[in-house]
Amino acid sequence: MSLEAAIAVHRFGLGARPGEIEGVGADPKAWLTAQIGMAAEQPVAPDGGAFPNCGTLVRQEQAMIAERRAIKAGDPEAQKKLAGGRMKIFTDEMAGRFKLGFTSSRPFAEHLVWFWTNHFTVSTTAGRTLNFCGAFEREAIRPFIADKFENMLLAVASHPAMLVYLNNNASIGPESRAGQRTGKGRNENLGRELMELYSLGVDSGYTQADVIALANILTGWSLDPKAASGFGYFPNRHQPGVQTLRGRRYAPDLKGGIEAVRDLARDPHTAHHIAIKFATYFIADEPSPQSVARLERVFSQTGGDLKALAIAAVEDDAAWEPRPRKMRSPVEYVTAGYRLLNLPGNDADGRLTRAAMASARAMGEFPMTAPSPKGWPLTSDAWSGPDAVLNRIEWAKQVGGKMPPDFNAARVADEGMGPLIAPATRTAMARAETQGDALALLISSPEFQRR
């Protein structure tokens, strides 16, 4: 078992399942690269099939709203059921996502999905996004991890989840026909965050006038229950007149909007912004300027090819430092624990998956619930505060306590961590009172807390 194989599985992957490090083979870089040539896997719905597309979800949502209006004054039980309906959609979607993380045989591809979903944060904390969050990742992120950045950006900017989250569905050109009729106007939220967070980055010299121009460009981008994608462009809400964004002019129609989004993706500031975030996530909390510059160059030279970007990170020597440096986020931590123990098994009633979801939440992170569009933090210090660390140890102890009496912690450690285990951890495990405690010590150890 080579050290490089263990690093590949833990740093780029999601932690080792039994036999996974052995299976990496002689060329860990090739093992990683082979995972990312195509779209990411899709999670499986509770009935074993595929989740519905967002157009269906938009129609469902409208039907639910209509139904709720109809029973407004009536049956409180029926009302409760409707509220529970939205939450169930979200929980089922997230359970499918967690399960994929526990079991995927393309863990690097899955890890890339997590990075991009967090980069393009959509959260249940604002707007009516609960029903659409799962679809967002399935439709705007997973198909594009080996595609061009501009295609992902466009899919993101036109996805119902994003349009609802950042209020673009309510943004109406003040001089458009709908604006004139209703007196309603523009909402800057998506226009601003699309530049600040999702593409150019905050110090890239755009102005308030640019924010307004982009918001105008995006007016009329909203939800259409008749479309399979759930997205529709409504010319009667679109602000008339050519818009100038960062010195370029865009026609007042959907084509102009698509061009504007693609131009943001191609802007050199975007290459820099993405390179920094990607390096911070996969290489180090404070990546060297050389690492960032390399990723930035590859991103620019390939026209934002995301597969090339991922390979460039894999090929950076700095990413192979033996000592794990990045604190696992709670979702990464719980996932690595489950992979280590080959959980959740068939989990027919979903209990073990739900337990992991609740644990990640209690440790402070849950997918698609970040407090702001900036997403969950990428650096270790966010997850290593006093309360956070104690929570993780408490979780490790709980997991250890659930192991059967014939459990062999040392074997799990060898298979799942191998050369990454520190001598002190081995000693402590050997001295532990029970096999469960030995496992809990492994999961609490500095080297398992990090990747």
Binding site: K184, G185, N187, V202, A362, M363, E394
Partner: protein
């Protein structure tokens, strides 16, 4: 289990490991922390100051605010303060504080940040720099040593991990209402040994254990636990009361923290903000109730030694946007309250609400620098010397002279 943790804490203390001992070791070369308490509440997301503290006496108020204007009479009427400014109808407890001369409202106030990014704005608010990302640590952390507070649990973040404002050279503690069962002492000692060569994890674990032991009595609120046993931090929909109440209980302890930070998000009201009812009204009411719970938990004696300063990264646009909300702006409101505060006043350099006085024709203007408020509180309430304020706590803040007359003599 509680006793286990307490005895564990004592054994750490005996070994000189935990922070309180360390803090004492610094007394010889720094000021001694007094018994006054300072709490900073960070409102993340840009609170609408014109909703929180409506200038109802301004002749343009009703017209510029449109559907968001609050009424001065009838159901859902705002609370009048001085005939010109008021408080949102949800701020019933804050109104009582004002009447008891324990609340000062500040208006047209903002950090020196003049753009409209939440994240840069919060960075400036918390770092105390003149621009985003100029300083890597938080102003409140830099103010700890001058207050006589060293490493340990005299400075406390109610969070899983301290926010930037309280992060820096001085090690501080963090606490949240715990929901997971606590591991036993033996196991924790084994983990501590594992962390012997890991400074970050070792420091965090020691600090957490010390706090956990001291806070057992702050954890008895079942409301802190969600339906699936998850914690409810001050996120957009989280109940704030357990956090504020827990802070109040911890701050009440004789040897407890002297400085604490609290965070509440959920103020980014781009859509259907509402006026007397609605989204923002509910969130403000949650905040108002949480503040009252903190006051009650502290008890009269400690409350009388307390100042709470509550601020947000920037204000919002004066006019409603197209979707019944407001967009990112500049100036806004801030609040200073507590038994130690010389309250019952509104401090604002008011210039009206006409478009020609608004920043870029849209934002509430910024006429007072938030740093002037922070500096005033640090100087009068926590005896931070002027040299420290100007040189280390808020470098390059000469234009923002400390506001005087904030704290009772």
């Amino acid at each position: 289990m509680i006793l286990d943790r307490r005895s564990l804490l004592q054994s750490f203390a005996a070994a000189g490991i935990i922070g309180a001992m360390d803090a004492r070791a610094h007394f010889a070369c720094a000021a001694t922390p007094g018994d006054r308490r300072l709490v900073v509440v960070i409102l993340r997301g840009a609170l609408d100051g014109l909703a929180a503290a409506p200038p109802h006496g301004d002749k343009d108020y009703a017209s510029v605010r449109g559907d968001l204007a609050l009424q001065t009479s009838g159901t859902g009427a705002l609370h009048d303060l001085d005939g010109f400014f008021g408080l949102h109808p949800s701020f019933a407890n804050l109104k009582t504080l004002y009447d008891n001369r324990q609340l000062i409202v500040f208006h047209n106030i903002c950090s020196p940040y003049r753009d409209r990014s939440h994240f840069e704005g919060q960075n400036v608010l918390e770092s105390g720099g003149a621009q985003p990302h100029l300083l890597q640590d938080g102003w409140l952390n830099r103010a700890l040593r001058p207050m006589g507070i060293g490493n340990g649990d005299r400075a406390l973040a109610i969070a899983q991990t301290p926010p930037l404002m309280l992060s820096g050279k001085v090690q501080t503690a963090s606490w949240m209402p715990a929901v997971m069962p606590a591991p036993d002492e033996l196991f924790l000692n084994q983990v501590r040994a594992l962390y012997a060569n890991d400074a970050v994890l070792q420091e965090s674990l020691s600090s957490a254990l010390a706090l956990q032991a001291a806070s057992q009595n702050a954890m008895d609120d079942p409301a802190a636990v969600g339906p699936n046993g998850q914690k409810r931090p001050g996120g957009a929909y989280g109940n704030l009361t357990p956090l504020f109440q827990g802070a109040g209980k911890l701050l009440a302890a004789l040897d407890g923290p002297r400085v604490a930070t609290l965070e509440a998000s959920g103020w980014d009201t781009h859509v259907t903000e509402g006026a007397a009812d609605g989204q923002l009204a509910r969130r403000l009411q949650m905040l108002d109730a949480a503040i009252d719970a903190m006051r009650t938990a502290m008890g009269r004696e400690v409350w009388d030694k307390t100042a709470v300063v509550m601020a947000t990264e920037f204000g919002r646009t004066v006019h409603p946007n197209g979707s019944g909300g407001t967009d990112h702006g500049t100036g806004g409101a801030a609040f200073l309250f507590g038994g130690a505060v010389q309250g019952g006043q509104v401090k604002a350099e008011w210039v009206g609400l006409r478009s020609d006085v608004l920043k870029d024709g849209r934002d509430q203007p910024a006429r007072t620098d938030l740093r002037a408020l922070f500096k005033g509180v640090l100087a009068e309430h926590m005896d931070v010397p002027n040299s420290a304020l100007e040189n280390t706590v808020f470098p390059d803040s000469g234009s923002a002279a400390p506001i005087k007359g904030l704290i009772r003599a």
